[in-house]
Amino acid sequence: MAEGEVPFRILPALSERSGFFWRSGRDGVLRFLRCTDCGAWLHPPLPLCPVDHSKNLAPTPVSGRATVHTFSINHQPWMPGPELPYTVAIVDIEEDPSVRLTTNIVGCSPDDVYIGMPVRVVFEHHEADDGEVWLPMFEPDPDRAGDGERGQ
């Protein structure tokens, strides 16, 4: 795969509930559902707020800043995908660290990824006849470079 080429991905089903999430990157902004009554963030999307059971939920922009909670450098060719090895990570969203995303860390060597690493969202756009999507990937955040403690 040439550099800069978009890798093959199995794209998410664009359900009524989650479609907003996968299309959110159209304007470069990451969004999660938030309860407009109590302010709780929730993910994956649900039909009601798990805290107060309100149905008043709205896709709400976040900063796109996150922290690597844990990660794994994948070497196994399970299926077509990014060039091996690639980094799978679970990141904590800045607005609510209990909201997490499984994602890939891009824009750096897998060897440079560490738990606590500050990252920011960068979208991987996929055209598709059955609905285009913007996958939220994360890259090192230059504004917070060096934050977090490496090598604990």
Binding site: A13, S72, Q76, M79
Partner: protein, 401 residues
């Protein structure tokens, strides 16, 4: 809680059985399943007509090879007449199906419940590499990811190997656990498998072999991942009153653990240095006066090596964060150590019989039928069997009658 409310105590394991087990048998999965079931009924000294309950995991479900037969297949093939039957994957791990059988016996819905788990993942895999285990993980174009895979497959994370590796990495980060420590789970399994004639892999493995194996998903190498195989394991769970005069000494169920108090999710769970086994383990000890120090041997799921470390802590057999140092060097978990572990070789070396192999081995050890791999301690009285990882975990504490 009154002891009389702990109805799993009215149940015992009266029979155990396995089919032929192999890396790739290319055998009919239903035949293997029935072989295992009939072996368990025979072991108990029962007749097929005595069976009045049936339970299995996961049912006729999942990707190719994941399930050799559903409850209906066995029900009909053996012409069973059942007072109670159950099947499903949304339960407390693979042993959830056995735990439900214990509760059914305790509640009087059945006297003798046949439980089975059957796999043919070895043959299904063929000569190809191991696939992602979840639907849609085969990379076919035009497939869209849904359910939990909606949140993992688009990021090229189609396997529990990757998800569990991230739990392991978090544990390494918080507690300083090392690959050399993790290796002991694989090395111990291989040593024990050498004494198990049914094991898939029995040739010796050294630390150098382990550390030089190809990486799968860090920190996991090939030897941290269990080996797909073909085979079936079955049990007869009987009411203790109906098991007194059977062929084998009954192995009693002292307590079970089924709790899941965190979010049922591989990435949203509150503490990724542990798993749902944290809740199942605490639950088990809340239902018995026995203590972790009473356990004579532990048979703990090793679909991936790290899950065994996680179970050691979840079951309070070692303090939180200390599973790595505990297994270091391997002597404490050896057959003559303070806590013999996965004495049949686990799924890492004896084959991925998917949870049921651990209960099978716990019963073998409590009966003293381990032969060359029988633990050194004479007359073991208490064993623990635990299965599952991530957000699906269950465990059983067993005693000699």
């Amino acid at each position: 809680m009154n002891a009389s409310d702990i109805i799993e105590r009215r149940a015992c394991v009266s029979g155990i059985g396995q089919s032929e087990i192999g890396r790739r048998l290319d055998a009919d999965p239903l035949t293997l399943t029935l072989d295992g079931c009939l072996a368990a009924i025979e072991d108990a000294g029962l007749r097929v007509g005595d069976i009045d309950g049936l339970s299995t995991y996961p049912g006729a479900f999942g990707p190719s090879g994941f399930s050799g037969a559903g409850a209906v297949d066995v029900h009909d093939a053996l012409r069973l007449e059942l007072g109670w039957h159950d099947s499903g994957i949304e339960t407390s791990g693979q042993l959830g199906s056995v735990i439900k059988a214990c509760l059914a016996v305790g509640a009087g819905l059945a006297r003798h419940v046949l439980c089975f788990r059957s796999v043919w993942e070895g043959s299904a895999q063929g000569s190809k590499g191991r696939a992602g285990i979840m639907p849609g993980g085969d990379g076919k174009k035009g497939v869209r990811a849904s359910g939990f895979t909606e949140w993992t497959l688009p990021f090229s994370a189609p396997s529990a190997a990757v998800w569990i590796a991230m739990f392991a990495q978090r544990h390494f980060h918080e507690y300083g656990t090392t690959r050399e420590q993790l290796a002991q789970i694989a090395l111990n399994a291989r040593k024990n498998a050498a004494l198990n004639p049914n094991a898939i892999y029995s040739e010796p493995m050294s630390m150098d072999d382990y550390l030089s194996a190809r990486l799968i998903s860090t920190p996991f190498c090939l030897f941290d991942c269990d080996v797909p195989c073909d085979g079936a394991t079955a049990f007869v769970i009987s009411h203790v009153d109906a098991a007194r005069d059977l062929r084998q000494p009954p192995v009693r169920v002292e307590a079970v653990g089924t709790a899941l108090r965190g979010r049922p999710s591989w990435d949203q769970f509150d503490d990724l240095s542990t798993m749902a086994n944290r809740d199942a383990g605490a639950h088990l000890w809340s239902r018995t006066d026995l203590k972790p120090s009473d356990v004579d041997c532990a048979q703990l799921y090793d679909g991936f090596s790290f899950i065994t470390l996680s179970w050691l802590e979840a079951l309070q057999l070692v303090p939180i964060g200390e599973s790595g140092p505990f297994v270091e060097g391997g002597h404490r978990i050896a057959r003559d150590g303070e806590l013999p572990l996965n004495t049949h070789g686990g799924q890492l070396s004896a084959g991925r019989l998917h949870g049921y192999g651990f209960l099978h081995e716990a019963v073998v050890q409590l009966r003293g039928q381990g032969g060359a791999r029988q633990i050194a301690k004479a007359n073991p009285q208490v064993a623990i069997a635990a299965a599952g990882g991530g957000n699906t975990c269950g465990c059983m504490l067993l005693t000699r009658d």
